[in-house]
Subunit: 225 residues, 3 copies
């Protein structure tokens, strides 16, 4: 474990596999598991009972996963809570905050300064910009784009599969443009775009694209004054 500097502070029962690369002044909580495919920056804090650097697994009935040899990269100054799981081939920027019980899949990127709320889930192939807020228990599906400064309320739900497994279909999640805000427990359908600066009301079901700077609400969501 030559890649681990002496200034690291690790808890009890921490498992750090050979191959992990760990920066300066890193703090790792008790019982956390650091798997081999990981590069942790300086001044990163990680809570207890996490599993970081997970390799994708597959079942016969799931879409094929591209295995890569790329590491999980965690930027300087990022803070990760307790009981968090994160996969390989994902890049987390600097000064990101990831709360407890979060799960983040492979081939994801998360921009500088973004906050991911507790128990939120980020699926594979998703790009999240800078200074976004993804609130507690929100579900950001795979193949989704959140531009910078997006706000995703608590318990927001997204989908990327128009045919719910019934046909061959290129999965496509929502595209949420700069500064848009999605209210709590709203449902977003596959492939829709939410325009820059737009607002989606709590509990809305968004079935088609929303232009820039619009406010929509209801089931299905319609423009409101």
């Amino acid at each position: 474990m030559s890649n681990i500097p002496k200034c690291m502070k690790a808890g009890e029962n921490t498992v750090i596999e050979a191959g992990a690369v760990i920066g300066k002044n890193v703090v790792i909580g008790h019982n956390t598991v650091i798997l081999k495919g990981i590069k942790i920056g300086d001044d990163v804090e990680i809570g207890a009972n996490c599993v970081l650097g997970i390799e994708p697994r597959q079942s016969g009935r799931m879409r094929k996963i591209n295995k890569s040899n790329k590491d999980l990269v965690i930027g300087n100054g990022t803070k990760i809570g307790n009981t968090v799981s994160i996969y390989t081939n994902t890049v987390i920027g600097e000064n990101v905050f990831i709360a407890d019980h979060v799960s983040i899949r492979e081939n994801v990127s998360i921009g500088k300064g973004t906050v991911i709320g507790r128990a939120a889930i980020i699926e594979l192939n998703t790009v999240i910009g800078k200074n976004c807020t993804v609130q507690t228990l929100a579900y950001v599906t795979g193949d989704t784009i959140l531009e910078d400064n997006v706000f995703i309320g608590p318990c927001v739900s997204m989908s990327n599969d128009k045919y719910m497994g019934a046909r061959e279909y290129t999965l496509k999640g929502p595209v949420i443009k700069k500064g848009a805000k999605i209210g709590n427990n709203a449902s977003l359908l596959p492939g829709i775009t939410i325009g820059e600066g737009s607002i989606v009301g709590a509990g809305s079901v968004v079935t088609k694209d929303v232009s820039n700077n619009e406010v929509v609400a209801g089931v299905p969501a319609r423009k409101i004054k």
Copy 2:
């Protein structure tokens, strides 16, 4: 621990209680806890930080739990992710895929080839058929039946208690027939039946039975063309 074959590969800090029965070529991740009431088949893979074989606990205000001495049984070739918890007296078929952060209660059965998405929750006394998909963060309540090839979208919510704790009532979750598909974040009320091959739109609230091969959507859900 005479029930553990030599070909098992266990991680660091794994706890395996005496009484656990473990098949051939099983892989168990770091810090995972295997309690005593468990029978694990051959070629099973289990991630890190899981707790498997939990005995039901009870509070005075919850309905009475039937304690049984039956084990948790995990079929050959099944894959279980990280930070998963599963109770005793539950039977998981062959080649099932259970993602990270899932929780499965006692007296549940899950058929061959089914996929349970990350952080989904399966409550007690529920029967799930073969080749079903239960997506991320879906909530499958207690006393529920999912027949074969059912698709439950992300964040779907179900209930089994019509009176929300107010009266004595035999709890009854939904019955979802073969091949039915439930869109993301839909809400299903207690005891309703969703017919074979039917589709429920995202964000719908289903308050009464849906016939076979119908498409319903809205709040409350109505038949659409």
Copy 3:
């Protein structure tokens, strides 16, 4: 660790930091982490893989957190499941039941006899009364009040931020009065009051106050007969 009586039963790989105070006849599961800021009463049962006594962390983009030196206090006879995380400066009453995968923040109080369902999340500064039921995957936001005997259905979502991070605003969650019942997957907006004994239908979006003893449903929720 002079504060730990001999009658405690701790699992393997349990971490108990110096400073923790632990009552009589306490049972703690394998791989659980008990941090220093905690006072555990008598006859408390705690499952495996928990993290208890977490100190709040902060990112630059989040609201300022008042660090306190107050402990997490767990009342006599309370039962805590597996993979649970709870913060310091929170008081949990006697005979409370906290299911698996639950997360509870700092400055929360939970009254005697209340049941918190699996994977439910209770955010900071929230007060929950006696004999309440918070069902599975429910999200109780910060700055919320649940009076005694309240029922929160599965997957209920709440918000406390009217402007979704857009302006300075004193965060205020819902106030839910005695004996009110909220159906599964309902969405509650910031600062609304649900009157005593009122019922909110499943999947409803509650945008304004509900008087005592009313039944409301729909999007937006309206009084029904």
